[in-house]
């Protein structure tokens, strides 16, 4: 397990003013596995996800210390280009936020801004990634329609396609199915299980059943702290901490 950790988090602390959001997080996230971050609402899961691709930079009031190492590079103190770093990670948020442009351009956007503009290349890529996200058949005749015209479930898959299009190593997903109907949710879950062949997936959720279905590795967070982490089997079958047991029993809901 320690051998192939993709992301290592050491002593990560995050505070806004005097309020501590994340406390001494120490984690290892394995490569090409689905890691589920589990915990009740408001325990800092989303914030943690945002520190991973430095979206926390957007909020100057957030104070971050510690280190996050991805591929032997401490991304919190790196001299490398942040935009390249972010391209390595596709982000899927709670609700889909399609960019204000047509379906085609939503997927091509990430490629265009990194300078690849040849029409042929873009066409191929857009098709490929829309297929990967199981969306191609539904939208191939209306690629020029605004993305906002799609249903929420389709929009979420579009966001997945657009995230994959920049060729990331890691997929960060923040409760990606919470706004979706059961069928769309299942489609996303299935896709994730397929995608873990190629990608390291970190997904935040508070849906226990979902976690049981797809998790390889589970991190349980509570009030900004990591309470327990381990393989899905360890956590679900034999949790060590009292608080984890209670949560798994559904005591928090």
């Amino acid at each position: 397990m320690e051998e192939n950790a993709k992301i290592r988090v050491n002593d990560l602390n995050l505070s806004i003013g005097k309020q501590k959001i994340l406390k001494n997080i120490n984690l290892e996230i394995p490569e090409r596995k689905i890691t589920i971050i589990l915990g009740p609402s408001g325990c800092g899961k989303t914030t943690f996800l945002k520190t991973l691709n430095r979206l926390t930079d957007l909020y100057p009031e957030m104070h971050v210390t510690g280190s996050i190492t991805i591929d032997n590079d401490d991304i919190l103190h790196t001299h490398k280009d942040i935009t390249l770093l972010r391209q390595k990670m596709g982000l899927l948020s709670q609700r889909p936020y399609p960019l204000p442009m047509n379906i085609y351009n939503n997927v091509a956007y990430g490629l265009r801004i990194s300078g690849r503009k040849k029409r042929r290349f873009l066409d191929k890529r857009v098709e490929h990634y829309l297929k990967q996200a199981n969306l191609w058949d539904e939208v191939k005749d209306r690629l020029k329609d605004p993305a906002s015209a799609l249903s929420i479930g389709q929009q979420q898959r579009l966001c997945l396609a657009r995230g994959l299009a920049v060729d990331p190593d890691i997929i960060l997903a923040d409760e990606p199915t919470s706004a979706l109907d059961p069928i769309s949710s299942e489609a996303i879950e299935k896709k994730f299980v397929e995608l873990k062949q190629q990608y390291t997936i970190v997904m935040v959720t508070h849906v226990l059943r979902q976690a049981r279905r797809i998790a390889d590795y589970v991190v349980f967070m509570y009030l900004g702290e990591v309470i327990e982490q381990g393989t899905a089997e360890e956590i679900f079958q034999n949790p060590q901490q009292e608080i984890t047991k209670q949560y798994l029993k559904g005591a928090f809901n």
């Binding site: 972010r86 948020s93 960019l99």
Partner: protein, 320 residues
């Protein structure tokens, strides 16, 4: 609960007095409440009816002229000789359009860039400091802008800008009017733009950034595009404000009844026409009517821009 039961247990029809008193107060209370709501509804109706009353009033007043001459002729002729019964509004309309467009060309980019900076780049406290400043700017009486225009802008144009471009100008010109107007509508447009950019969801920004876009790319390709209807309507509201602004423009624009052929020539916008002449020659009924028609044109144009912009803004809010 307990008191209620006690009361119930008392025999009926015995406690006349207190029942009546209670009833009296109850009635009074209800009456009051009813009266108050009636007043509120009346207030509301007055507010809703006001624009219609204004519009219809102006229309009735301008009928005299409209029956005498065709509207087309009035709007597209530049022959303005009231004493001879010639009322061509073209000069004034063109002046108004000139002043408004130039003012928007000056104010628009400044507002857009400032709004983007304040909402995307500046620290929170900067916005907190700037916001009241904008509000204060918006609250300054327009006559002060007019005086400032006469003292600073007019001489600046006649002594520096015009000679620099090889033109002659007294300074009282379309350009002077536009600059004063631009300064006046900047706080107005800026306030709306700041709101527009603030309503954009953070997640949209995050989505673009997480795809590897730089901050500037995100602003250019995503935020401005998403905010576009809002930007247009902010400008539209600015235009409707600028088009009707009277006193400050009147003070610096020259007020000469010839069609302006350049920025450095004087103009004579519609509001200035009305303000300068109303009450002077009302002995000529057609003149009176002509000024009312000018007011009506102004009113309709401003209403249309206002309505259009507000519809655009509400669409933006619906979309989220």
């Amino acid at each position: 609960m307990l008191t209620l039961q006690k009361r119930k247990s008392k025999p009926k029809y015995k406690n006349f007095q207190s029942r009546d008193v209670v009833r009296f107060f109850k009635v009074k209370r209800h009456l009051r409440s009813k009266l108050h709501t009636t007043w509120m509804v009346i207030g509301l109706i007055v507010v809703i009816l006001l624009p219609f009353i204004l519009g219809v009033g102006l229309y009735i007043k301008s009928l005299l002229l409209l029956e005498d001459q065709s509207l087309f002729n009035l709007l597209f002729s530049s022959d303005w000789r009231p004493l001879a019964g010639k009322f061509g509004f073209l000069t004034f309309i063109i002046s108004s359009v000139w002043v408004t467009i130039i003012a928007l060309l000056i104010a628009g980019p400044i507002c857009l860039l400032t709004a983007i900076h304040l909402t995307q780049y500046a620290k929170n406290w900067v916005l907190k400091v700037v916001h009241p400043v904008i509000d204060i700017l918006a609250g300054i009486p327009s006559v002060i802008f007019g005086v400032w225009g006469i003292l600073i802008i007019v001489p600046f144009i006649s002594d520096y800008i015009a000679p620099f471009l090889g033109k002659q100008s007294s300074g009282y010109s379309i350009l002077a009017g536009s600059i004063v107007l631009a300064v006046m509508i900047i706080p107005f447009i800026l306030n709306i733009l700041i709101e527009v950019f603030r309503t954009l969801p953070d997640e949209l920004k995050e989505s673009s950034l997480s795809l590897g876009a730089t901050k500037w790319q995100t602003i250019k390709f995503v935020l401005v595009k998403k905010a576009f209807p809002g930007i247009i309507s902010a400008f539209g509201l600015g235009v409707s404000r600028a088009f009707g602004e009277t006193i400050a423009v009147l003070m610096v624009v020259g007020n000469v009844t010839t069609i302006p052929k350049g920025l450095f020539q004087p103009g004579y916008p519609l509001p200035a026409l009305i303000a300068n002449n109303y009450g002077e020659m009302l002995s000529i009924p057609l003149y009176d009517s002509a000024l009312m028609l000018a007011a009506l044109v102004l009113f309709v144009v401003v209403m249309l821009f206002n309505l259009g912009s507000r519809i655009a803004i509400s669409r933006l809010e619906e979309k989220g």
